[in-house]
Structure formats: structure tokens, C-alpha cells
Symmetry: C2
């Protein structure tokens, strides 16, 4: 197989020593992922320079820690291959970043746009990045890093090459570009979660939805309620220490990723909550460890919070207070709210007593559930200190269009839908005015294919899943539920498929995965080169022979 590649897209034919160099300027978008909204190459040729000779200025006199870490990550990503660049040792790059605001708030209102310009003079590539926020600037640097790659010289040294001339104006289509990780069914190490954050940054994703607890285990240290991990962690080594969570949230911001926590309730709550009777608080959770489990839940070991015991709210309030102390300036929480299994409550004596003379009907239990949700929200607001921070909930009986307005305030709640793309629930909720985050069950549930009769969604299905562009849709999330993954495979199971959703959410292209084929292979290689175990996309032959494997 030839090791020489050429590209007919160049103004003059160049011969490249690696395929990655060739791909930098191939096609309309080089090997950029996600593809930018506007791009114009003014000179597709390559400028080879010394990676030790990059200077970066961030004005106006930017000196916040996020900026320093962002620039540090940019350099780290470039230097992994570097070796003694001698031939081009005096060729330089100068990067000037201008960022308007010094805000460090990353939420759905954050302006993530940027513009990027490269012009190359004789011995110098001049790069200008302009943005409203540091998060836009970070995207600009990510794009810049994708316009470069290693350049092996004949003397066995390795320099860097960059596209000589390009202008980019870019902004995300959706403001929520998320990934859900589940650390309850199986514990994931801090190192693994950090790799996910780096992979997200590489694909310009910005929300990490941390489904940190569930019925199976409670691995989150809550200093106000130490019993939660004492009773709920799989082992003393499978606990997220409070300081580690804080560190991860900060680590996320350095990578343009907002980490937010889901405290799922009232269902999906079991282990961690067993200590109520022992502490004299009564049953905090009910149905836990029920067998046969099919009678009381959708998955062992069952477990739902006990709405007839108001001590539950005191514990929740303590947990919320611990969470709030972890969060950066603006607070976002996910309160779960999915898959309440009414037969569990309806077979629990103290709950039946609690509802008293009311009929044991669906509506009665929805009212009870709503009472739980309202009280949980009240406790949350109390510790936050205001009544307007956004709360996310999964779709459920409570969000059924016929009930939702009775139960959930559309100015407070953002609803995360997890129905298949054939279901018009998202449309109906939008008609009622609810803001949405979309997790299309039959395209973006990355755990599917490994259990029951579910189907695996390859990257093309993930990519080709178009969601509504109604303004009420904040964006979408791919979900990596944790039943069948742990540290051994969660990275390859998630990546590069999550990156396919990333381009859908950033660029929302009218084109399909077929047009993204070569760039997607490149993005996978980029993840690998950055130390992220990303799965193979196809035979390497298909990567080396662009477009030849399409049917």
C-alpha cells in the first residue's frame, strides 16, 4: 500500500508523508469535527513549523484559571508526537485570542461562538481567534488544533503542519450537546470520567449529565449524610469523594464541559437509603430487594423513596445542600423522575394508609408523586436560595401531555424526552410550551444492542438522527446507561459514536453520515491519538481509501 498521498483539492498538487496530513485540507471541511458553520480555505497548502515556537496571547489581559488550563490543554494535545523539530525550528506560530467577557458561567445562555483566521507569512503563521466567552475561545483553539497535525521530516524529527490560510465563523446550532454517564449500575473511575470529558471537548460537546446514583448503588459522598455511601457504595474504593466531584466539575469547565448531577427520585432509589429504621427515621425507601423483582420494579433490586415518610425530604434537603456547594455560580440539577412503578407504592402498607380514603387509582398515585416532586423542589429552592434555577426531569406519567400542566411549571422544569423518534410526545410538549432536551431512544441510547431485544445504533444511525429545530429544544443527549459497561469498555462503547451526535448537535447538517464518512474516521483517529479508547469505525482500508467502502 502506497505511503504517499496526494489531494486534488490543493491549488498545486502536494505529496504528503502521512494520510493525516493529506486529510487536513481534503474536501470541504478538512478533518474538522464537528464541521464549522462557515469555513473558507484561502490557502490549502501546509506550513510546517516548530511546536515549541507557538506563542499565545489572550486579551484583554486574560488571567483567569480557565483560560490558562484551556491553553495548556491545547498545547498538550499538539505535543504528543513532537520530536526535536530541527529543520523548521525557526518557523513559528503566533496565536492571538480576543475574548469580550470574562464570565466563567457555562449554561444554555453562554455564547460559544468564535471566529478563527489563519494567515501565513514567510516564517510565521498568524492566528486570530475572537470570541464572546472563554468557552468560545476554547472551541476556536480546538478547531485550530484540528487544522494541524504532526509532520515527520526526513531527518526523523517531527514538526507540526498547519493549513496556511483559512477563515472560520462558527457557532453551535443547539446549546445543549450532552452525554449521560451512569455510575450506579457499575462504578466508573475518576480517570475514566476525565477521559470522557476530554473526548467531549474534542467533539465540542458541553454538558455531562452524571447519573451518579440509582437503586443498585449510591457512590456519591454526601458529607451531611455519610450513611448514603456507607450503605450504598459497592465497596469503600467505589466512592466519589466530595473533593473529587468538585475537582471533576472544575476539570469539566477547563474543557468547556458543564458537569451536572442527577439525583434520581422517587424511583431508582434503593441502596444508600436503607438506614432509616436503624436511625429511627422509619423507611426511607420501599420495595428494595423485593423478589420476584418483576412485581415491584423494572430492574432489581427495585427501591423507591417513601412519600408517606416526610423524613425523606429532610434527607433529600441535606443531599441537595451538599450538591449546591459543589456547583459553580449558576445551579442546574436533574431530579430524575422516571419509571415510577406504581404497583410498588400500591402494595406498600404505610403508603396505602397514607393515601387513606382516596381511590387507589392512577390519578391518586400521580397526585402523590406530584406531592413528592413539589416538596422536593421546595427543599431544593430552600438550599439554593431562590425559586428560579432550572430543574430537569425525565418524561414519565407525570409529563404526559394530559397531566403535565397540572403538575409541572413550564418556567421551572426542562423536560428530557427519551421516546423513539416515531413518538410525537416532544411535539406535544412543545405545543404546551415546555423546553426540551432530546434523547431519542432508538438512536441515542448507546447501551442498546447488548440486552433484551434492543438494537445497536451504529454511528450512522446516531448521526442521521435529526431532532426538531424548534427554539424550545435546547439540544440533545446521548445516553450511556451503565448496566453492561464499566471501566473495561465504557469508553469504546461511547466513542466515537457520541461524536456523531456531537456534529448533529453542533452543525445540524442537512447532509447525512455518508458525507461525513472520511471526517468521522479522522475524528476517531484523533480520539485515539489523545489517549481515548474509541472503537474502530471499520476496516483501516476504508480509512485509507476515502469513500470506497460506501455501498
Amino acid at each position: 500500500m502506497s505511503k504517499i498521498f496526494d489531494t486534488s483539492h490543493s491549488t498545486s498538487i502536494e505529496i504528503y508523508p502521512t494520510i493525516e496530513l493529506c486529510r487536513l485540507s481534503c474536501g470541504e471541511y478538512g478533518s474538522l469535527w464537528p464541521k464549522p458553520q462557515n469555513l473558507k480555505f484561502s490557502n490549502r497548502n501546509l506550513f510546517v513549523f516548530n511546536p515549541m515556537q507557538i506563542t499565545i496571547e489572550h486579551s484583554p489581559s486574560f488571567d483567569n484559571h480557565i483560560s490558562r488550563m484551556v491553553i495548556d490543554t491545547f498545547r498538550t494535545n499538539l505535543e504528543h508526537d513532537y520530536r526535536n523539530c530541527s529543520k523548521c525550528k525557526d518557523k513559528r506560530m503566533r496565536v492571538k485570542i480576543h475574548t469580550e467577557s470574562d464570565t466563567t458561567v457555562l449554561d444554555w445562555n453562554t455564547d460559544e461562538s468564535y471566529s478563527l483566521k489563519i494567515e501565513t507569512l514567510k516564517d510565521n503563521a498568524e492566528v486570530e481567534i475572537t470570541s464572546k466567552t472563554i468557552f468560545g475561545a476554547r472551541h476556536g483553539l480546538e478547531t485550530l488544533s484540528q487544522l494541524m497535525t504532526s509532520y515527520p521530516e526526513e531527518d526523523n524529527s517531527i514538526c507540526l503542519a498547519v493549513i496556511k490560510g483559512v477563515t472560520i465563523e462558527d457557532r453551535p446550532f443547539y446549546s445543549h450537546r450532552g452525554l449521560l454517564l451512569d455510575t450506579s449500575r457499575n462504578y466508573l473511575s475518576i480517570a475514566t470520567i476525565k477521559k470522557h470529558i476530554r473526548a467531549m471537548a474534542t467533539s465540542k460537546m458541553n454538558f455531562l449529565h452524571w447519573h451518579i446514583t440509582d437503586a443498585q448503588s449510591f457512590p456519591m459522598e454526601t458529607p451531611s449524610v455519610p450513611n448514603m455511601t456507607r450503605y450504598g457504595a459497592y465497596s469503600p474504593s467505589a466512592i466519589y469523594k466530595y473533593e473529587d466531584i468538585k475537582h471533576l466539575i472544575q476539570y469539566g469547565l477547563y474543557h468547556g464541559v458543564r458537569v451536572f448531577l442527577e439525583m434520581d427520585a422517587p424511583a431508582h432509589a434503593g441502596y444508600g437509603w436503607q438506614w432509616g429504621p436503624e436511625a429511627g427515621l422509619g423507611d426511607l425507601t420501599v420495595c428494595l430487594n423485593h423478589q420476584p423483582w418483576r412485581q415491584a420494579c423494572i430492574q432489581p433490586p427495585c427501591g423507591q423513596l417513601n412519600p408517606s415518610n416526610h423524613r425523606v425530604y429532610d434527607v433529600l434537603q441535606d443531599i441537595y445542600a451538599d450538591i449546591i456547594k459543589l456547583l459553580p455560580s449558576s445551579s442546574i440539577i436533574h431530579m430524575g423522575g422516571d419509571e415510577l412503578f406504581i404497583p410498588c407504592w400500591n402494595s406498600t402498607e404505610q403508603i396505602i394508609r397514607y393515601i387513606g380514603n382516596k381511590p387507589r387509582s392512577m390519578e391518586t398515585f400521580l397526585d402523590l408523586w406530584s406531592e413528592f416532586q413539589n416538596e422536593a423542589l421546595k427543599r431544593y429552592d430552600k438550599v439554593v436560595g431562590n425559586k428560579n434555577s432550572p430543574v430537569i426531569l425525565w418524561t414519565s406519567h407525570l409529563t404526559d401531555p394530559q397531566y403535565v400542566e397540572r403538575y409541572l411549571n413550564k418556567d421551572r422544569y426542562i423536560i428530557q424526552t427519551w421516546v423513539p423518534n416515531t413518538d410525537n410526545l416532544p411535539e406535544e410538549l412543545m405545543k404546551l410550551g415546555y423546553k426540551l432536551i432530546i434523547s431519542t431512544k432508538n438512536a441515542w441510547y448507546l447501551d442498546h444492542g447488548f440486552w433484551g431485544t434492543t438494537e445497536y445504533y451504529d454511528w450512522r444511525k446516531v448521526y442521521d438522527n435529526q431532532i426538531s429545530n424548534n427554539k424550545l429544544v435546547l439540544g440533545g443527549e446521548v445516553c450511556m446507561w451503565g448496566e453492561y459497561v464499566d471501566d473495561a469498555s465504557v469508553l469504546t462503547r461511547t466513542w466515537p459514536r457520541a461524536a456523531a451526535a456531537a456534529e448533529r448537535l453542533w452543525s445540524n447538517p442537512v447532509t447525512s453520515s455518508n458525507q461525513a464518512d472520511a471526517r468521522f474516521y479522522s475524528q476517531r483517529q484523533r480520539l485515539i491519538s489523545r489517549g481515548i479508547d474509541a472503537d474502530a469505525v471499520g476496516p483501516r482500508w476504508c480509512y485509507l481509501n476515502e469513500g470506497q467502502c460506501l455501498s
Copy 2:
């Protein structure tokens, strides 16, 4: 979650500091995988001893290198957790191995049976392993290692614990317990292949089917024909050096694994074979790089050897000669022979000329294919130096029951079937007297679920796939085709599912995966503890709560 476990199977209740210790003597088979044919616990309690105080004698005065390496691996597997065992520092284990024959031949006639007995006196566990061959002895040591696990003492030191009394008589049900790896679609590193071999040894699998070449790339160094990798490797670093292959074959034997090579022909041969015209030999391969590929093959880049050019046989003979030099005493080869795409030959001018006036019918092309196969076999026999070494072929048109006896000698060819379990082809071939290796397509194709409309086979489907116990069935193989895996995920994609097939092939239990559930979780943990990235089986909660997740 409680960290204390007890087992009601003990003669007296013991409290164990880890679940792994408890599982050593749980149920009928402890945490053994695959389960032995006959096992009797005489004392289920644990003896805690010093792993530095294991003596191993192998008689009669065994001093071959395989024995030394087998014992070394046994020790390595035990010592990974060891820390300063002080409390039990004078408690010992003495292992006496008696092996009848000093043969180092591992093939379908090798006697792999062993017996194992543990008796514990006050300060000493006495272990006796008896076997016909070193490979049986290795199985005995593997079983012994699975009767032990780390024992953390209160003083923070870590010793080993072993079951005090047990007697095992064990032998495999099938003599071929195989795994196919494909290194052509994507290259796999030597380190990855070694991990597969160690995982196979941990599950008593014994045949590694190395599908080393295909149309996409030819990564195998063949010193007699250096052009093969020069034209066929994906890159200079994606080549299996001749010495490395030799080393891997030897490494396999040290782990009780026979590595055998597949040189797939005449289809699935493209890259690596392009140099014919340049060297004045004419076209060795045809249809290579044909587009649209659907017209000439089932997968790009197409490519089939050219039966009208007899120089092909000279090259094949050189390659065979290189292969033979690599092999241990008895030679086994897989000649592929699957998926010949007749429209390719039938649209190639020189082949049409070659068949001359014969009708361009199915039968004519099968005759041509058979001519190819006969000549290839002749060249192979020439370099082997005899005419009776076994050759394996995939099922194809050539093995169709209506043709097979005309084309393939049942005393020479072993046929590997890859049809679904609903197909009665294996039965029909057995009626005709052919020996078989079974790769049930709808259970043992581990690449399924990731492309097209194929379905993923979870470990239960792999386990529950019963194959014929006719004497003509040598055994079976799980196949890890390489289109959608490379070093990043090939281990988690293969393991622990391949281990499920391992128990099916070793023990051929009448019971189903439900009865193997807890032991299978244990085997997965064992693979992880030995450094093999094996996928999660389910939530860790299910591992900690035996049998509670079954529906």
C-alpha cells in the same frame, strides 16, 4: 452494602472478608470455569498460606521448557495481589505433578485430561496433579489456581487461601475449543494477541485460529516473498515479523493453545498480491479494487486469486514453505476457501479465455475452483513432505453435500461450518463422513450486532448454543471477525463471551446459562484480575447478589 459474606454450603459457617473468598466454595463448582466433569469437595473450608511458600515438583524429572513456562505462569497468576503475608508465613503448599508422556504435540489427539487432589494437614496443603501430557497438567494447574484467591489479613498483608479438600477428575468434551482472530481488516498488536492467548488459557481453550490475511491487508512477513507485506501491509509498523509469529506460536504452547494460521484462498486475497505484473508474473489477483464493489465481491476491496495464472501456485508454495517452517512438529493449516464470488472470475477476461469452450456455468467454475484447491494442496504437501496432514476449509459451494465428495477427500479435509443452528448442513456433512469444526453463525459470530441487520449474541446465547456430540465433531470455534474492532476494543468484544463457549466446549453441560450465572461473573473478574480487558456482564449488584437478577 455489607462487606461480610457467608456461605451455608460450608460444614461450619465461615465469615469471609471478600466475596471472591466466599465464592471459592459456593455451590456445586465454586468459582471454577469451565466446570470440571467430576468434582467432590471433601472439605470446603479455607486454608490460608504464604504464596511464597509454594513448592512444585514435576515428575518424572520433567525438564522441558513448556513445563517451566506453565509453572511460571501459574505462579504469576497467583502473585498479583500478594503483600507481605506475615501471619501465615509458615503455612505452605506442596504441589506434585505427575505427567506420563513428555510429548509437546498439541493437536486433536492430545490427551488433555488431568486429576487433581487437595488434602490439607496442619501447616501444609498437599496437591497432587496427574496427567498424561503437559497440557493436561497445565489444565490441572489452571484449576488449582481457580481454587485459590487472595486473602487479606487484618494486619494489611495479603496471603492466599485455598479450598482444604477436593478431588477432581476432568477431561474436555470436545478436542477443538477455538477462537478465531482476524488481523487483516484491522491490525492487532502482538501484545493484544498475547492477552487473547492468556484469556484462552484461563478458560481452557486450546486452538487459536489466526485469520492472518484477507483482501484488505497482508500483514504476515513471508521471508521467501517479501513483496507480500511490501504491497499488502497497512504500514511498516503493521507487520507480523517472522520471528514474532514464531514466538507467538511458542507462547501459545506455553499456555496450552495451538496457534494455527489461515491462508485464505482463492477469495479474500487482494492486497499483498498486486505485484505480479511488475515482477513479470502476470496478474496474481483479479477484481481487486473493483468499483462498484458489489459487482465483484461481498466486501471492498474485492480481490480473488487468478486460477488462470499458474504462477499463483509458485507464490503460494513459497508462502506455505515459510509457514511450515514456523510450525511445531505436527502441521495444521486452514486454507480458507470461503465466499468465492463467481461473478468476479466470470467477468475476468483471462479466466474466461482459460475455461475455453466449457459452458460458463456454476459447475465449470466449481471445477475451476477445485482445480485451484487441488493444486494448492499439492504444493502444500510438497513442502510438508507428506500427504496426510490435516487441512481445514470453510463451508462453501465446494462443500455443498451434492458436490463435496467429488471435490474434497474426507480423509484430508476438516470442514469448518459457519451456518446458523437452524441449518442442517453439519448433519448432512457428517452423514457423508466429514469431520467438522462448528462455528454457529447465529451464536458464535462475536462480530454480529455491530453492522447491518445482525444481532448481538450475549454470553447466554453463546453459552446455550449446544452443538452435535457426534464423534465427527472435533469441537467449535467462536469467531471475532475484525471489520469493526482493533486494539481498542477487540478484547472487551471477545471476552468474557468467548469463555461462555469455552465451558460449552469443555464441559458441554446439560444445564443452561442460568445455572452458570454466578460462576460466569467470577470468571469475568478473574480475567480482569489477570490483566485482560473483559466486558462487564451486568450491574455489579448482580455479582454481589447471586441469582437475584435472573428473571
